[in-house]
Symmetry: D4
Subunit: 160 residues, 8 copies
Amino acid sequence: MNKVSIIMGSSSDLDTVSEAINILKEFKIPFEAKILSAHRTPKELTKYVEGSPRRGVKVFIAAAGMSAALPGVIAAHTILPVIGIPIESGNLKGLDALLSIAQMPPGIPVGCMSIGKSGAKNAAIFAVTIIALNDRKTAKRLGDYRVDMRRKITKSKIKL
Amino acid sequence: MNKVSIIMGSSSDLDTVSEAINILKEFKIPFEAKILSAHRTPKELTKYVEGSPRRGVKVFIAAAGMSAALPGVIAAHTILPVIGIPIESGNLKGLDALLSIAQMPPGIPVGCMSIGKSGAKNAAIFAVTIIALNDRKTAKRLGDYRVDMRRKITKSKIKL
Amino acid sequence: MNKVSIIMGSSSDLDTVSEAINILKEFKIPFEAKILSAHRTPKELTKYVEGSPRRGVKVFIAAAGMSAALPGVIAAHTILPVIGIPIESGNLKGLDALLSIAQMPPGIPVGCMSIGKSGAKNAAIFAVTIIALNDRKTAKRLGDYRVDMRRKITKSKIKL
Amino acid sequence: MNKVSIIMGSSSDLDTVSEAINILKEFKIPFEAKILSAHRTPKELTKYVEGSPRRGVKVFIAAAGMSAALPGVIAAHTILPVIGIPIESGNLKGLDALLSIAQMPPGIPVGCMSIGKSGAKNAAIFAVTIIALNDRKTAKRLGDYRVDMRRKITKSKIKL
Amino acid sequence: MNKVSIIMGSSSDLDTVSEAINILKEFKIPFEAKILSAHRTPKELTKYVEGSPRRGVKVFIAAAGMSAALPGVIAAHTILPVIGIPIESGNLKGLDALLSIAQMPPGIPVGCMSIGKSGAKNAAIFAVTIIALNDRKTAKRLGDYRVDMRRKITKSKIKL
Amino acid sequence: MNKVSIIMGSSSDLDTVSEAINILKEFKIPFEAKILSAHRTPKELTKYVEGSPRRGVKVFIAAAGMSAALPGVIAAHTILPVIGIPIESGNLKGLDALLSIAQMPPGIPVGCMSIGKSGAKNAAIFAVTIIALNDRKTAKRLGDYRVDMRRKITKSKIKL
Amino acid sequence: MNKVSIIMGSSSDLDTVSEAINILKEFKIPFEAKILSAHRTPKELTKYVEGSPRRGVKVFIAAAGMSAALPGVIAAHTILPVIGIPIESGNLKGLDALLSIAQMPPGIPVGCMSIGKSGAKNAAIFAVTIIALNDRKTAKRLGDYRVDMRRKITKSKIKL
Amino acid sequence: MNKVSIIMGSSSDLDTVSEAINILKEFKIPFEAKILSAHRTPKELTKYVEGSPRRGVKVFIAAAGMSAALPGVIAAHTILPVIGIPIESGNLKGLDALLSIAQMPPGIPVGCMSIGKSGAKNAAIFAVTIIALNDRKTAKRLGDYRVDMRRKITKSKIKL
């Protein structure tokens, strides 16, 4: 089983994170989605992350805004890959979250995506690329997804 | 007893943090100094922070660079005040750390200082202002420190 | 008596600052709220800050936008802790105020919070952590507040 | 076979990228290292990326500075995971490369690391977390690496 | 024949790019407009760019947002001049696209315009300046355009 | 008498500020130079600024780094023009000081110059333009200075 | 006669610039307002600026957005003081204009105000401080304006 | 005749600009190089630019730092293409110059290159792409230059 765990720091992140969830559904990847905060529920977060391998989790996706410690703190408690989504909340529009997630110190990496909905979508696709390494059906779907994406663009017409 | 706990994410932060230590020594504030990382030693950090009140810690000073999760993660495990020093490590010269420390989400505050040595010095003075609220000797020393600072400036001559 | 003094540079800051006021009310911390400007009413500000200790003020919270000199100027006139809220006014959305408040030169610290409403809320909670050091009831309320915050998150459900 | 392909845009990137190479050697992960540019050798790059799966490549690490199109262009030609290292070259010290790599548009993700040497090291560790998902020995080494890292910190002494 | 090829990374860029199209129409410059992505349709893009000289294309205008690899990738496949328009999509409002397009590494230049609609308009005018070098009618129209622009400003009245 | 008062926040600013002093000497403008801090010597600063008109001061030049409150605080205590020099001290290289000085709230203006030595030189020349409004000799010298500057450029040769 | 000349780069700047005009009317300062562009009407601009002293102009206020060359180009053609207003037009919200106006190279200064309406208001007040140096009535009005401003703040009530 | 005119704002820019000159020499493109400033020698600049077409100039390259008005002001006086090089002078390392040059308002375009030496080199190559449109020998040399560039990369070896 190849499950993805999606953790977001606040229920207000769900609108953005749903882009990731839609992709996982489309690729038929099983997933868990949880609201847990590095700052407000550190113990519940630690416990949840540490128990994830037993539940079949292979990849974490973590979404957080502002100082956005969540992805890094998850990475501190697991050796599974962690993908971070910078949420566009707050007055700096996610630039703060982007720097917090990307600028991880040496030793504990997080794979940082773009800010907001495009990043959420990409986080799920990135998880799919990892899962596809050992799952032929997923690899097949990913290949088809790419072909579809290409087709949509090449078929689009410009009305001048 | 009014102890300050100084935590830094890496031994390379000590050069900056020593500015804080010097101030605490000058004000005769007892302190502990530890190297602990939110990302590399999360459990040791949690344990240390939770045990701090029993050892007389009243204020935390936390120094970290880059994604700088340390001050926020300490704040997640204590109701004591946490003061953050953005370390100037990395290619963004501490701007990343400044945003990570200042832009804490609502609920768990950290008092963010300026980047680097001036921030380290100020973190200790800020801890002193907190301790001085209930410690007359420290308040007296803080008042004297201000007078000295003022005197140094008013006595400084400009050689044209 | 442990009073908090909240000073804002302009009446238009009140919408943001009310987040701080609500927290202080919730924690039953007595407070004063004033509109005073470092640039437009410097004398009134000085006089007010210098008289604050006699009225029982233990902590200052200062909110200002743009060049945001207010928190630093208050800190220049007191040895009490000063907490700064960068207001999101102006075209730079508070990034200017954040840098002005955080980047205090060595000697006179200000504890900088995040930009806008989250920073206002955190400023008050940070004041509470300071007051709680010597006030058991406030410490108890702060512990309960944390438990409540945790509970709200762990109870929140994600509708997929 | 689980090979990592490391591609850098310029021979001047090697000083930074060697941090990644050292980690892969330490973890005994087989790897290829190539200098190929999205702008100066687009055809050679395409050909190399498309032939990589046949040579056992499972993960790409791509390092580039300034407008840093390399990781995204690699991702355009593969469904394997691509990890990006923003190189600190140029007058913006890698901030430009960081934004170029992190801000990928929806559909083609790249996992962005921090700027420079810390990012290079983390890129390799991130590749290791992916390979470890299906390679027990690598997973074991990663666990041991974490324990060592933790030990180094907890043993470090602060000389005051 | 002096044709301009306008390529945009996404159909959502058309609203901005239409500013360029309007200018080309006004100057009676023949043009092609295509939606092609450096990341999602790299092969179609390469093929299209390589075939452009045969269709009479003399100048490329490329519009892209976020990591904005498109103009640089076009430039990698042609020795014709490439003009880049940073699209204001995403949470960073085009600052990311501006840096990606302007900060091209040495060897493969792109002429970067301003972000958004003003940049789109200017991209077309810049293409006109290039075409006008060898086309008297276009040079004449450009001179007249300038005179008109000047006249509009000098005739505008300020209502106080 | 048309005196310029130059105030700097720290003796370490003198290296930069001496560019301004050299210009004032060159234009034979009488001046005072003082080290006074908005944060460390607020009362001495207020007293000095308020007494300046009596000593013939017509224009203030104020240099400060980091949160750089000095020029604005001077402006709060005078109706004379205040020119601000952002000092390049600290890890943000004067960007913080530039924003603090330029982004003054409505009502109390400061004329902000560029960061560092070029700003110091320009601050003095700007003071000269103001004094020249009512001083023919100074106006004459300013005209000559411009001619000299022009001559130096037109005479400079490029060695290829 | 002490006239202020207000120049704006585009008629769309008038909404912002009217804040400056209102102040000049309030202080009964005579003024001219013109739309002239450094880029689109360079000759008309030069001619207008050079003729201004003869019409009694003592101070220039120049408003421009984006690359905002206008204030600097005016300063190139006069020895009168030039005050710059960064207009908030374009996707960078005036940060580009702020840097263009403030970061003038050594030799030709411009006094930069804050971005947008607050900067427009302050530009006019700054012009007033210059004119007040040799005009007692204006100095008196400026003093009264300050007292009024102070009074408005001290009278403002906070409704909790 | 297809001459390139290279204009730099200051003799200190020559170290950077020489990268452009070297390329023009390599491609045997005739060129003029001048030091002229938009701020310090506006009249000489205007005259020089207006006379350039008569001397066979087809493309302008303009290098300037800080507020970097030069490229835009040249563009205001010509309908020839203008390519801008942001010089890395000053404390903001060319970010100010980059924004000033790229963020040209609608109507008068400048093709902005990257900051510093890479931008200088690219400015010349960009001029070459324009000249090559109507000059077969130059087009041939540009094609060969590309092949050489490609060859250097594909031949470079990585010493591990």
